[in-house]
Symmetry: C2
Subunit: 255 residues, 2 copies
Protein backbone atom coordinates (compact mmCIF):
# COMPACT_ATOMS: atom_id res chain seq x y z
CA UNK A 1 0.00 0.00 0.00
CA UNK A 2 0.93 3.59 -0.43
CA UNK A 3 1.23 6.51 1.96
CA UNK A 4 -1.45 8.61 3.64
CA UNK A 5 -0.71 12.26 4.36
CA UNK A 6 -2.67 14.81 6.44
CA UNK A 7 -2.05 18.47 5.60
CA UNK A 8 -2.72 19.67 9.13
CA UNK A 9 -2.21 23.22 10.37
CA UNK A 10 -4.74 25.04 12.53
CA UNK A 11 -3.61 28.48 11.34
CA UNK A 12 -6.01 29.59 8.67
CA UNK A 13 -5.24 30.46 5.07
CA UNK A 14 -1.75 28.91 4.90
CA UNK A 15 -2.37 26.86 1.72
CA UNK A 16 -3.67 23.51 3.10
CA UNK A 17 -6.31 23.11 0.40
CA UNK A 18 -4.18 24.55 -2.40
CA UNK A 19 -1.34 22.17 -1.49
CA UNK A 20 -3.56 19.06 -1.17
CA UNK A 21 -5.16 19.78 -4.56
CA UNK A 22 -2.02 20.88 -6.42
CA UNK A 23 0.29 18.21 -5.03
CA UNK A 24 -2.34 15.51 -5.47
CA UNK A 25 -3.01 16.31 -9.10
CA UNK A 26 0.72 16.58 -9.87
CA UNK A 27 1.33 13.15 -8.31
CA UNK A 28 -1.49 11.77 -10.47
CA UNK A 29 0.19 13.42 -13.46
CA UNK A 30 3.32 11.41 -12.64
CA UNK A 31 1.31 8.20 -13.01
CA UNK A 32 0.32 7.52 -9.40
CA UNK A 33 -3.16 6.48 -8.18
CA UNK A 34 -4.22 9.30 -5.88
CA UNK A 35 -7.19 9.77 -3.51
CA UNK A 36 -8.01 13.20 -2.07
CA UNK A 37 -10.26 13.51 1.00
CA UNK A 38 -12.01 16.82 1.80
CA UNK A 39 -12.53 16.92 5.56
CA UNK A 40 -13.34 20.64 5.84
CA UNK A 41 -16.96 21.83 6.14
CA UNK A 42 -15.99 24.73 3.88
CA UNK A 43 -15.60 22.11 1.10
CA UNK A 44 -12.93 24.19 -0.67
CA UNK A 45 -11.09 21.11 -2.03
CA UNK A 46 -14.38 19.90 -3.54
CA UNK A 47 -15.06 23.35 -5.04
CA UNK A 48 -11.47 23.53 -6.31
CA UNK A 49 -12.25 20.48 -8.47
CA UNK A 50 -15.37 22.13 -9.85
CA UNK A 51 -17.83 20.05 -7.81
CA UNK A 52 -20.78 21.71 -6.04
CA UNK A 53 -20.96 20.57 -2.37
CA UNK A 54 -24.72 21.01 -2.22
CA UNK A 55 -25.42 18.49 -5.02
CA UNK A 56 -23.80 15.42 -3.50
CA UNK A 57 -25.63 12.21 -2.67
CA UNK A 58 -22.71 10.88 -0.61
CA UNK A 59 -19.76 12.64 0.94
CA UNK A 60 -17.23 12.25 3.71
CA UNK A 61 -20.09 12.91 6.15
CA UNK A 62 -21.68 9.55 5.30
CA UNK A 63 -18.25 7.90 5.46
CA UNK A 64 -17.71 9.10 9.05
CA UNK A 65 -21.19 7.92 10.03
CA UNK A 66 -20.65 4.49 8.42
CA UNK A 67 -16.90 3.76 8.57
CA UNK A 68 -17.41 0.02 8.14
CA UNK A 69 -18.55 0.66 4.56
CA UNK A 70 -15.16 2.03 3.48
CA UNK A 71 -14.86 5.11 1.22
CA UNK A 72 -15.73 3.67 -2.21
CA UNK A 73 -19.45 4.43 -2.02
CA UNK A 74 -18.68 8.15 -1.53
CA UNK A 75 -15.70 8.38 -3.91
CA UNK A 76 -15.87 10.17 -7.26
CA UNK A 77 -13.40 10.06 -10.11
CA UNK A 78 -12.60 13.54 -11.42
CA UNK A 79 -11.47 15.06 -14.69
CA UNK A 80 -8.19 15.98 -13.00
CA UNK A 81 -7.12 12.33 -12.72
CA UNK A 82 -7.53 12.03 -8.94
CA UNK A 83 -10.29 10.30 -6.98
CA UNK A 84 -12.09 12.48 -4.44
CA UNK A 85 -14.13 11.90 -1.30
CA UNK A 86 -15.92 15.25 -1.33
CA UNK A 87 -17.23 17.30 1.58
CA UNK A 88 -20.84 18.39 1.67
CA UNK A 89 -22.44 21.15 3.67
CA UNK A 90 -23.88 18.48 6.05
CA UNK A 91 -20.39 18.29 7.48
CA UNK A 92 -20.84 21.68 9.14
CA UNK A 93 -23.05 20.33 11.90
CA UNK A 94 -21.30 17.00 12.23
CA UNK A 95 -18.45 17.94 14.55
CA UNK A 96 -20.73 18.17 17.59
CA UNK A 97 -22.75 15.18 16.39
CA UNK A 98 -19.61 13.00 16.31
CA UNK A 99 -18.24 14.41 19.57
CA UNK A 100 -20.25 11.91 21.61
CA UNK A 101 -19.27 8.79 19.66
CA UNK A 102 -16.86 6.20 21.07
CA UNK A 103 -13.60 6.26 19.13
CA UNK A 104 -14.67 9.50 17.47
CA UNK A 105 -11.08 10.28 16.38
CA UNK A 106 -10.72 6.94 14.60
CA UNK A 107 -13.71 7.01 12.24
CA UNK A 108 -11.74 7.95 9.10
CA UNK A 109 -8.97 5.48 9.90
CA UNK A 110 -11.58 2.72 10.21
CA UNK A 111 -13.10 3.73 6.90
CA UNK A 112 -9.70 3.66 5.13
CA UNK A 113 -8.95 0.24 6.68
CA UNK A 114 -12.27 -1.00 5.22
CA UNK A 115 -11.34 0.33 1.76
CA UNK A 116 -10.15 -2.20 -0.84
CA UNK A 117 -9.06 0.15 -3.61
CA UNK A 118 -5.28 0.46 -3.82
CA UNK A 119 -3.91 3.99 -3.90
CA UNK A 120 -0.27 5.08 -4.00
CA UNK A 121 -1.06 8.36 -2.21
CA UNK A 122 -4.00 9.41 -0.04
CA UNK A 123 -4.04 13.15 0.79
CA UNK A 124 -6.37 14.57 3.47
CA UNK A 125 -7.35 18.28 3.66
CA UNK A 126 -8.50 19.21 7.22
CA UNK A 127 -10.14 22.45 8.42
CA UNK A 128 -8.19 25.26 10.19
CA UNK A 129 -8.69 23.87 13.70
CA UNK A 130 -7.60 21.00 15.95
CA UNK A 131 -11.11 19.64 16.45
CA UNK A 132 -12.65 16.26 15.62
CA UNK A 133 -12.11 16.45 11.85
CA UNK A 134 -8.42 17.33 12.15
CA UNK A 135 -7.95 14.63 14.80
CA UNK A 136 -9.54 12.12 12.39
CA UNK A 137 -7.11 13.27 9.68
CA UNK A 138 -4.12 12.84 12.00
CA UNK A 139 -5.23 9.42 13.26
CA UNK A 140 -5.73 8.19 9.68
CA UNK A 141 -2.40 9.45 8.34
CA UNK A 142 1.06 7.91 8.19
CA UNK A 143 2.64 11.36 8.08
CA UNK A 144 1.68 14.97 8.68
CA UNK A 145 2.79 17.39 5.99
CA UNK A 146 2.59 20.95 7.33
CA UNK A 147 1.90 23.79 4.88
CA UNK A 148 3.52 26.77 6.60
CA UNK A 149 2.90 30.33 5.44
CA UNK A 150 6.09 32.34 5.94
CA UNK A 151 4.45 34.69 8.45
CA UNK A 152 4.88 35.06 12.24
CA UNK A 153 1.43 33.81 13.31
CA UNK A 154 1.84 30.62 11.28
CA UNK A 155 5.27 29.87 12.77
CA UNK A 156 3.90 30.52 16.28
CA UNK A 157 1.24 27.85 15.59
CA UNK A 158 3.79 25.03 15.35
CA UNK A 159 4.10 24.20 19.09
CA UNK A 160 0.35 23.71 19.45
CA UNK A 161 0.27 21.47 16.36
CA UNK A 162 3.24 19.45 17.63
CA UNK A 163 1.52 19.04 21.03
CA UNK A 164 -1.63 17.77 19.31
CA UNK A 165 0.40 15.29 17.25
CA UNK A 166 1.94 14.01 20.52
CA UNK A 167 -1.58 13.51 21.90
CA UNK A 168 -2.70 11.56 18.85
CA UNK A 169 0.37 9.34 19.11
CA UNK A 170 -1.23 7.84 22.25
CA UNK A 171 -3.79 6.19 19.96
CA UNK A 172 -1.66 6.15 16.82
CA UNK A 173 2.03 5.73 17.75
CA UNK A 174 3.36 5.60 14.17
CA UNK A 175 2.33 9.16 13.32
CA UNK A 176 5.11 11.69 12.72
CA UNK A 177 5.71 14.97 10.91
CA UNK A 178 6.83 13.90 7.46
CA UNK A 179 7.66 17.33 6.17
CA UNK A 180 7.15 21.08 6.29
CA UNK A 181 6.26 22.96 3.09
CA UNK A 182 7.04 26.69 2.97
CA UNK A 183 4.04 28.31 1.28
CA UNK A 184 3.05 31.80 0.14
CA UNK A 185 6.73 32.72 0.00
CA UNK A 186 7.50 36.25 -1.18
CA UNK A 187 11.16 36.59 -2.06
CA UNK A 188 10.77 40.36 -2.32
CA UNK A 189 10.17 40.77 1.43
CA UNK A 190 12.63 40.38 4.30
CA UNK A 191 9.86 38.87 6.42
CA UNK A 192 9.48 35.88 4.11
CA UNK A 193 13.25 35.30 3.90
CA UNK A 194 13.65 35.70 7.69
CA UNK A 195 10.83 33.32 8.58
CA UNK A 196 12.08 30.78 6.02
CA UNK A 197 15.54 31.00 7.58
CA UNK A 198 14.02 30.37 11.06
CA UNK A 199 12.02 27.40 9.78
CA UNK A 200 14.99 25.78 8.04
CA UNK A 201 17.22 26.30 11.07
CA UNK A 202 14.69 24.84 13.52
CA UNK A 203 13.28 21.99 11.45
CA UNK A 204 16.35 21.23 9.21
CA UNK A 205 15.77 18.45 6.68
CA UNK A 206 12.08 18.06 7.55
CA UNK A 207 11.59 21.18 5.42
CA UNK A 208 11.16 20.48 1.72
CA UNK A 209 13.69 22.21 -0.50
CA UNK A 210 10.90 23.33 -2.81
CA UNK A 211 9.28 26.57 -1.63
CA UNK A 212 5.86 27.57 -3.01
CA UNK A 213 5.86 31.22 -4.14
CA UNK A 214 2.90 33.59 -4.01
CA UNK A 215 1.43 33.26 -7.52
CA UNK A 216 -1.91 34.79 -8.46
CA UNK A 217 -2.72 31.87 -10.80
CA UNK A 218 -3.08 29.67 -7.70
CA UNK A 219 -5.67 32.07 -6.34
CA UNK A 220 -7.47 32.31 -9.69
CA UNK A 221 -7.72 28.55 -10.32
CA UNK A 222 -10.50 27.93 -7.74
CA UNK A 223 -12.79 30.33 -9.63
CA UNK A 224 -12.39 28.07 -12.66
CA UNK A 225 -12.81 24.89 -10.58
CA UNK A 226 -9.57 23.55 -12.01
CA UNK A 227 -6.29 22.47 -10.40
CA UNK A 228 -3.28 24.59 -11.26
CA UNK A 229 -1.81 22.06 -13.69
CA UNK A 230 -4.94 22.39 -15.84
CA UNK A 231 -5.66 26.10 -15.27
CA UNK A 232 -2.14 27.49 -15.78
CA UNK A 233 0.36 24.71 -16.45
CA UNK A 234 3.28 27.09 -17.20
CA UNK A 235 2.72 29.28 -14.12
CA UNK A 236 5.25 29.61 -11.28
CA UNK A 237 2.67 27.95 -9.03
CA UNK A 238 2.28 24.91 -11.29
CA UNK A 239 6.06 24.54 -11.68
CA UNK A 240 6.61 24.78 -7.90
CA UNK A 241 4.01 22.11 -7.12
CA UNK A 242 5.36 19.86 -9.88
CA UNK A 243 8.81 20.18 -8.33
CA UNK A 244 7.36 19.48 -4.88
CA UNK A 245 5.63 16.35 -6.22
CA UNK A 246 8.95 15.04 -7.55
CA UNK A 247 10.63 15.80 -4.22
CA UNK A 248 7.84 14.07 -2.27
CA UNK A 249 8.04 11.04 -4.56
CA UNK A 250 11.77 10.78 -3.94
CA UNK A 251 11.30 11.13 -0.19
CA UNK A 252 8.42 8.61 0.00
CA UNK A 253 8.92 6.34 -2.94
CA UNK A 254 6.08 3.85 -2.78
CA UNK A 255 7.33 0.30 -2.21
CA UNK B 1 -23.58 51.90 25.92
CA UNK B 2 -21.43 51.34 22.88
CA UNK B 3 -21.42 48.75 20.14
CA UNK B 4 -20.17 45.16 20.13
CA UNK B 5 -18.77 43.72 16.89
CA UNK B 6 -17.82 40.13 16.01
CA UNK B 7 -15.29 39.72 13.15
CA UNK B 8 -16.70 36.39 12.04
CA UNK B 9 -15.62 34.48 8.92
CA UNK B 10 -14.92 30.76 8.92
CA UNK B 11 -12.51 31.02 5.97
CA UNK B 12 -9.03 31.03 7.38
CA UNK B 13 -6.41 33.73 6.97
CA UNK B 14 -8.69 36.53 5.75
CA UNK B 15 -7.50 39.13 8.27
CA UNK B 16 -9.89 38.66 11.22
CA UNK B 17 -7.21 39.11 13.85
CA UNK B 18 -5.33 41.83 11.98
CA UNK B 19 -8.57 43.79 11.54
CA UNK B 20 -9.71 43.37 15.17
CA UNK B 21 -6.32 44.54 16.44
CA UNK B 22 -5.70 47.33 13.92
CA UNK B 23 -9.22 48.73 13.95
CA UNK B 24 -9.45 48.47 17.73
CA UNK B 25 -6.23 50.35 18.37
CA UNK B 26 -7.12 53.03 15.79
CA UNK B 27 -10.50 53.56 17.49
CA UNK B 28 -8.66 53.92 20.83
CA UNK B 29 -6.36 56.42 19.15
CA UNK B 30 -9.43 58.46 18.25
CA UNK B 31 -10.26 58.73 21.96
CA UNK B 32 -12.71 55.83 22.37
CA UNK B 33 -12.73 53.27 25.20
CA UNK B 34 -12.13 49.95 23.48
CA UNK B 35 -12.20 46.33 24.67
CA UNK B 36 -10.78 43.52 22.51
CA UNK B 37 -11.71 39.90 23.18
CA UNK B 38 -9.54 37.05 21.87
CA UNK B 39 -11.82 34.03 21.37
CA UNK B 40 -9.43 31.96 19.24
CA UNK B 41 -7.37 29.11 20.80
CA UNK B 42 -4.50 30.22 18.55
CA UNK B 43 -4.36 33.40 20.71
CA UNK B 44 -3.04 35.47 17.80
CA UNK B 45 -4.75 38.69 18.99
CA UNK B 46 -3.07 38.22 22.40
CA UNK B 47 0.32 37.59 20.72
CA UNK B 48 -0.21 40.59 18.43
CA UNK B 49 -0.27 42.78 21.56
CA UNK B 50 2.99 41.25 22.79
CA UNK B 51 1.37 39.10 25.51
CA UNK B 52 2.41 35.45 25.96
CA UNK B 53 -0.69 33.20 26.14
CA UNK B 54 1.04 30.65 28.37
CA UNK B 55 1.74 33.14 31.19
CA UNK B 56 -1.83 34.20 31.95
CA UNK B 57 -3.53 33.71 35.30
CA UNK B 58 -6.96 34.53 33.82
CA UNK B 59 -8.19 34.52 30.25
CA UNK B 60 -11.38 34.26 28.24
CA UNK B 61 -11.43 30.57 29.21
CA UNK B 62 -12.22 31.47 32.84
CA UNK B 63 -14.75 34.03 31.63
CA UNK B 64 -16.70 31.40 29.69
CA UNK B 65 -16.63 29.04 32.70
CA UNK B 66 -17.81 31.80 35.07
CA UNK B 67 -19.93 34.21 32.99
CA UNK B 68 -21.70 35.60 36.07
CA UNK B 69 -18.40 37.21 37.13
CA UNK B 70 -18.25 39.50 34.11
CA UNK B 71 -15.00 40.11 32.19
CA UNK B 72 -13.18 42.55 34.48
CA UNK B 73 -11.27 39.89 36.42
CA UNK B 74 -9.69 38.63 33.19
CA UNK B 75 -9.19 42.01 31.50
CA UNK B 76 -5.74 43.58 31.05
CA UNK B 77 -4.93 47.13 30.03
CA UNK B 78 -2.29 47.25 27.30
CA UNK B 79 0.38 49.67 26.15
CA UNK B 80 -1.58 50.11 22.91
CA UNK B 81 -4.42 51.90 24.71
CA UNK B 82 -7.00 49.10 24.41
CA UNK B 83 -8.23 46.72 27.10
CA UNK B 84 -7.90 43.02 26.27
CA UNK B 85 -9.51 39.80 27.42
CA UNK B 86 -6.72 37.47 26.26
CA UNK B 87 -6.89 33.86 25.12
CA UNK B 88 -4.77 31.22 26.79
CA UNK B 89 -3.80 27.82 25.49
CA UNK B 90 -6.40 26.27 27.87
CA UNK B 91 -8.97 27.44 25.34
CA UNK B 92 -7.88 24.72 22.91
CA UNK B 93 -9.62 21.94 24.83
CA UNK B 94 -12.59 24.01 25.89
CA UNK B 95 -14.78 23.75 22.83
CA UNK B 96 -15.77 20.15 23.58
CA UNK B 97 -15.90 20.89 27.31
CA UNK B 98 -18.48 23.66 26.73
CA UNK B 99 -20.43 21.64 24.13
CA UNK B 100 -22.45 19.94 26.86
CA UNK B 101 -23.44 23.08 28.81
CA UNK B 102 -26.96 24.50 28.70
CA UNK B 103 -26.97 27.82 26.83
CA UNK B 104 -23.43 27.12 25.63
CA UNK B 105 -23.74 29.77 22.85
CA UNK B 106 -24.71 32.46 25.34
CA UNK B 107 -21.81 32.33 27.80
CA UNK B 108 -19.93 35.36 26.45
CA UNK B 109 -23.13 37.37 26.14
CA UNK B 110 -23.92 36.63 29.79
CA UNK B 111 -20.41 37.68 30.80
CA UNK B 112 -20.69 40.99 28.91
CA UNK B 113 -24.11 41.64 30.49
CA UNK B 114 -22.47 41.14 33.92
CA UNK B 115 -19.71 43.65 33.07
CA UNK B 116 -19.99 47.14 34.57
CA UNK B 117 -17.12 48.87 32.77
CA UNK B 118 -18.37 51.18 30.02
CA UNK B 119 -16.79 50.72 26.60
CA UNK B 120 -17.60 52.59 23.38
CA UNK B 121 -16.52 49.63 21.24
CA UNK B 122 -16.11 45.93 22.05
CA UNK B 123 -14.41 43.92 19.26
CA UNK B 124 -14.39 40.10 19.28
CA UNK B 125 -11.88 37.98 17.29
CA UNK B 126 -13.26 34.44 16.68
CA UNK B 127 -11.43 31.40 15.26
CA UNK B 128 -11.76 30.26 11.60
CA UNK B 129 -14.77 28.02 12.20
CA UNK B 130 -18.46 28.15 13.03
CA UNK B 131 -18.15 26.19 16.26
CA UNK B 132 -18.98 27.10 19.86
CA UNK B 133 -16.53 30.02 20.13
CA UNK B 134 -17.75 31.70 16.96
CA UNK B 135 -21.38 31.13 17.98
CA UNK B 136 -20.58 32.82 21.32
CA UNK B 137 -19.08 35.76 19.44
CA UNK B 138 -22.18 36.07 17.23
CA UNK B 139 -24.61 35.79 20.14
CA UNK B 140 -22.71 38.48 22.08
CA UNK B 141 -22.46 40.97 19.21
CA UNK B 142 -24.74 43.73 17.99
CA UNK B 143 -23.25 43.45 14.50
CA UNK B 144 -21.08 41.10 12.48
CA UNK B 145 -18.26 42.77 10.56
CA UNK B 146 -16.96 40.38 7.91
CA UNK B 147 -13.29 40.63 6.87
CA UNK B 148 -13.35 39.29 3.31
CA UNK B 149 -10.15 38.41 1.49
CA UNK B 150 -10.60 39.22 -2.22
CA UNK B 151 -10.22 35.59 -3.29
CA UNK B 152 -12.73 33.03 -4.61
CA UNK B 153 -12.78 30.67 -1.60
CA UNK B 154 -13.49 33.55 0.78
CA UNK B 155 -16.39 34.82 -1.32
CA UNK B 156 -17.82 31.29 -1.56
CA UNK B 157 -17.84 31.16 2.25
CA UNK B 158 -20.43 33.92 2.57
CA UNK B 159 -23.62 31.80 2.18
CA UNK B 160 -22.56 29.46 5.00
CA UNK B 161 -21.79 32.42 7.25
CA UNK B 162 -25.11 34.05 6.42
CA UNK B 163 -26.95 30.78 7.19
CA UNK B 164 -25.20 30.58 10.57
CA UNK B 165 -26.16 34.18 11.36
CA UNK B 166 -29.79 33.28 10.56
CA UNK B 167 -29.57 30.37 13.01
CA UNK B 168 -28.19 32.59 15.77
CA UNK B 169 -31.00 35.09 15.19
CA UNK B 170 -33.35 32.48 16.70
CA UNK B 171 -31.73 33.16 20.09
CA UNK B 172 -30.51 36.68 19.29
CA UNK B 173 -32.93 38.38 16.89
CA UNK B 174 -31.14 41.75 16.81
CA UNK B 175 -27.99 40.39 15.19
CA UNK B 176 -27.23 41.54 11.64
CA UNK B 177 -24.29 41.96 9.30
CA UNK B 178 -23.06 45.45 10.00
CA UNK B 179 -20.48 45.60 7.27
CA UNK B 180 -18.07 43.81 4.94
CA UNK B 181 -14.40 44.82 4.88
CA UNK B 182 -12.40 43.99 1.74
CA UNK B 183 -9.02 42.78 2.98
CA UNK B 184 -5.71 41.67 1.43
CA UNK B 185 -6.62 43.64 -1.68
CA UNK B 186 -4.01 43.63 -4.46
CA UNK B 187 -4.77 46.34 -7.00
CA UNK B 188 -2.14 44.88 -9.37
CA UNK B 189 -4.19 41.71 -10.00
CA UNK B 190 -7.41 41.32 -12.00
CA UNK B 191 -8.60 38.72 -9.48
CA UNK B 192 -8.68 41.23 -6.63
CA UNK B 193 -10.47 43.85 -8.74
CA UNK B 194 -12.97 41.29 -10.07
CA UNK B 195 -13.82 39.83 -6.66
CA UNK B 196 -14.13 43.35 -5.19
CA UNK B 197 -16.51 44.23 -8.00
CA UNK B 198 -18.63 41.12 -7.27
CA UNK B 199 -18.70 41.91 -3.54
CA UNK B 200 -19.74 45.54 -4.05
CA UNK B 201 -22.42 44.54 -6.55
CA UNK B 202 -23.91 41.84 -4.33
CA UNK B 203 -23.63 43.51 -0.91
CA UNK B 204 -23.86 47.21 -2.02
CA UNK B 205 -23.57 49.70 0.85
CA UNK B 206 -22.83 47.01 3.47
CA UNK B 207 -19.31 47.06 2.04
CA UNK B 208 -17.03 49.68 3.59
CA UNK B 209 -15.55 52.11 1.08
CA UNK B 210 -12.13 51.64 2.69
CA UNK B 211 -10.29 48.64 1.27
CA UNK B 212 -7.32 47.16 3.15
CA UNK B 213 -4.36 46.59 0.81
CA UNK B 214 -1.75 43.84 1.11
CA UNK B 215 1.04 45.55 3.06
CA UNK B 216 4.01 43.63 4.45
CA UNK B 217 4.18 45.89 7.52
CA UNK B 218 0.88 44.32 8.69
CA UNK B 219 2.52 40.89 8.48
CA UNK B 220 5.68 42.08 10.22
CA UNK B 221 3.94 43.80 13.17
CA UNK B 222 2.98 40.52 14.96
CA UNK B 223 6.69 39.57 15.21
CA UNK B 224 7.21 42.79 17.17
CA UNK B 225 4.05 42.27 19.26
CA UNK B 226 2.86 45.75 18.30
CA UNK B 227 -0.26 46.97 16.49
CA UNK B 228 0.32 48.60 13.13
CA UNK B 229 -0.15 52.17 14.43
CA UNK B 230 2.79 51.66 16.74
CA UNK B 231 4.96 49.43 14.54
CA UNK B 232 4.68 51.38 11.25
CA UNK B 233 2.38 54.41 11.65
CA UNK B 234 3.11 55.81 8.14
CA UNK B 235 2.59 52.49 6.33
CA UNK B 236 -0.19 51.87 3.81
CA UNK B 237 -1.67 49.36 6.28
CA UNK B 238 -1.80 51.86 9.15
CA UNK B 239 -3.35 54.54 6.93
CA UNK B 240 -5.99 52.10 5.61
CA UNK B 241 -7.04 50.98 9.09
CA UNK B 242 -7.08 54.60 10.34
CA UNK B 243 -9.41 55.46 7.45
CA UNK B 244 -11.56 52.42 8.21
CA UNK B 245 -11.79 53.48 11.87
CA UNK B 246 -13.08 56.90 10.83
CA UNK B 247 -15.60 55.29 8.47
CA UNK B 248 -16.78 52.88 11.19
CA UNK B 249 -17.13 55.75 13.66
CA UNK B 250 -19.28 57.67 11.17
CA UNK B 251 -21.42 54.58 10.49
CA UNK B 252 -21.85 53.65 14.17
CA UNK B 253 -21.44 56.90 16.05
CA UNK B 254 -21.83 55.98 19.72
CA UNK B 255 -24.87 57.69 21.25
N1 LIG C 1 0.99 30.18 -3.48
C1 LIG C 1 -0.14 30.91 -3.53
N2 LIG C 1 -0.15 32.08 -4.20
C2 LIG C 1 -1.28 32.83 -4.23
N3 LIG C 1 -2.44 32.51 -3.66
C3 LIG C 1 -2.48 31.36 -2.97
C4 LIG C 1 -1.36 30.48 -2.87
N4 LIG C 1 -1.71 29.41 -2.14
C5 LIG C 1 -2.99 29.61 -1.78
N5 LIG C 1 -3.47 30.77 -2.29
C6 LIG C 1 -4.79 31.38 -2.08
O1 LIG C 1 -4.78 31.88 -0.75
C7 LIG C 1 -5.98 31.53 -0.07
C8 LIG C 1 -5.63 30.57 1.08
O2 LIG C 1 -5.21 29.32 0.59
P1 LIG C 1 -5.97 27.97 1.00
O3 LIG C 1 -7.43 28.20 0.98
O4 LIG C 1 -5.45 26.88 0.17
O5 LIG C 1 -5.47 27.84 2.50
P2 LIG C 1 -6.05 26.89 3.63
O6 LIG C 1 -4.97 26.72 4.62
O7 LIG C 1 -6.63 25.68 3.01
O8 LIG C 1 -7.25 27.82 4.22
P3 LIG C 1 -8.26 27.35 5.38
O9 LIG C 1 -7.49 27.54 6.65
O10 LIG C 1 -9.43 28.29 5.25
O11 LIG C 1 -8.61 25.93 5.10
C9 LIG C 1 -6.89 30.91 -1.12
O12 LIG C 1 -7.72 31.91 -1.63
C10 LIG C 1 -5.93 30.40 -2.19
O13 LIG C 1 -6.51 30.43 -3.45
N1 LIG D 1 -3.36 43.58 4.70
C1 LIG D 1 -2.42 42.67 4.98
N2 LIG D 1 -1.25 42.70 4.31
C2 LIG D 1 -0.29 41.76 4.54
N3 LIG D 1 -0.41 40.78 5.44
C3 LIG D 1 -1.55 40.70 6.13
C4 LIG D 1 -2.61 41.64 5.97
N4 LIG D 1 -3.62 41.30 6.80
C5 LIG D 1 -3.20 40.21 7.47
N5 LIG D 1 -1.96 39.86 7.08
C6 LIG D 1 -1.17 38.69 7.50
O1 LIG D 1 -1.78 37.57 6.87
C7 LIG D 1 -1.95 36.51 7.80
C8 LIG D 1 -3.45 36.27 7.98
O2 LIG D 1 -4.06 37.33 8.69
P1 LIG D 1 -4.81 37.07 10.06
O3 LIG D 1 -4.04 36.11 10.89
O4 LIG D 1 -5.15 38.39 10.65
O5 LIG D 1 -6.13 36.38 9.50
P2 LIG D 1 -7.21 35.57 10.33
O6 LIG D 1 -8.43 35.58 9.52
O7 LIG D 1 -7.30 36.11 11.71
O8 LIG D 1 -6.58 34.09 10.35
P3 LIG D 1 -7.21 32.83 11.15
O9 LIG D 1 -8.27 32.34 10.22
O10 LIG D 1 -6.05 31.86 11.29
O11 LIG D 1 -7.72 33.33 12.46
C9 LIG D 1 -1.24 36.92 9.05
O12 LIG D 1 0.07 36.39 9.02
C10 LIG D 1 -1.21 38.44 8.99
O13 LIG D 1 -0.10 38.98 9.61
MG1 LIG E 1 -8.56 24.85 3.32
MG1 LIG F 1 -7.19 35.03 13.53
Amino acid sequence: MGHTFAFAMQKGGVGKTTTTLSLGTMLAGRGHRVLLIDLDPQANLTQGLGIQPDTLEYSVYEVLLNPERGVEFATQTTAAGVDLVPASLDLAGAELELAGKVGRELLLRKALRATHTAYDYILIDPPPSLGIFSLNALAAADYVLVPLQLHAYALKAMPQLEATIELIREIHPNLSIGGIICTLADRRTNLSLQIEQQVRTRYTDLVFETTIPINVKLAEAPSAGQPIGVYAPQSAGAIAYATLAAELEARYATP
